[in-house]
Symmetry: C2
């Protein structure tokens, strides 16, 4: 397989992977592109490589920077901004985990805690079923939260000490 072809396929695959996980396809594609390029790219470069518009490029690059997956790079003597992505996939994974936790899990934990305080006769089976479900989910969510926290600050944690070393 030729490099160009392989590159295209990788970008394509990473893009649809992102889409399945609720991440904008273009955003994932830009990320893929920057991951496999040895040097930083300009907005122009990205537009050309992926055949997307200026506006779209700008929006999604900005979002990637928000996620902490991409960085602005200034090349001395150049006016343009360049962009580059973290290439250590473990760091990428922890960044994503951190970000999704913050955006999704944390609000859910809040909601679930509220939902536990539903009033009603504990003998009513509807009330009981509801409370049981919420309690189970709440417990699960808190445990998931713990696991993700460990993963995210894995440098120092027990999780890293045991699990990560086994795999990395």
């Amino acid at each position: 397989m030729k490099l160009a072809e392989a590159k295209a396929q990788f970008i394509q695959t990473w893009g649809s992977l992102g889409a399945q996980w609720g991440i904008n396809r273009t955003m994932a594609q830009i990320h893929a592109l920057l991951m496999i390029m040895p040097d930083p790219l300009s907005a122009e470069d990205i537009m050309t490589e992926l055949n997307i518009s200026r506006g779209n490029t700008n929006m999604n690059v900005r979002e990637l920077i928000n996620w902490g997956l991409v960085e602005r790079v200034l090349i001395p003597g150049e006016r343009k901004e360049y962009f580059t992505a973290e290439k250590d996939i473990w760091k990428v994974a922890t960044e994503i985990a951190r970000e999704r936790k913050r955006r999704e899990l944390d609000p859910i934990l809040k909601t679930l805690n509220q939902l536990q305080e539903v009033e009603g006769d504990a003998k009513d089976k509807h009330v009981k079923a509801f409370k049981d479900s919420i309690q189970g989910i709440n417990k699960f969510a808190h445990q998931t939260d713990k696991v993700i926290n460990s993963f995210v600050k894995s440098e120092e944690s027990w999780f890293y000490g045991t699990l990560m070393k086994l795999f990395k």
Copy 2:
């Protein structure tokens, strides 16, 4: 908070959670509804509770059954089909993990393996950067695969023995 209100909010929350994770919103809502109901519901019941059409209900219930998250229940003497969802959230989580792995991770592993065989001079920095990225991701994916496998058949595994007991 009243039960009805809490129910509505839970369904709503679970629905948008699903949406963020690439699962159809209605599908997640039906799942939420079935999880908190003590008894099985008919298609009619689901339509009424969620204000959705017959076709939509049918499609998404079928999909939930495919995922292994919902079961058909036949009530003796009744012609209608009833549906119920697994209420143990740990089982739900392993079902989802199993299914997403099968649908997403497995195909990716295949693609990544192919992409490693890109031809080209290893001294060309573009080729090198590409190969390095793919190799890193490939390794990561295989390790993720192992972890998920352990999680999915957690009854028997080391993963269960150590991790799960700590949390469950």
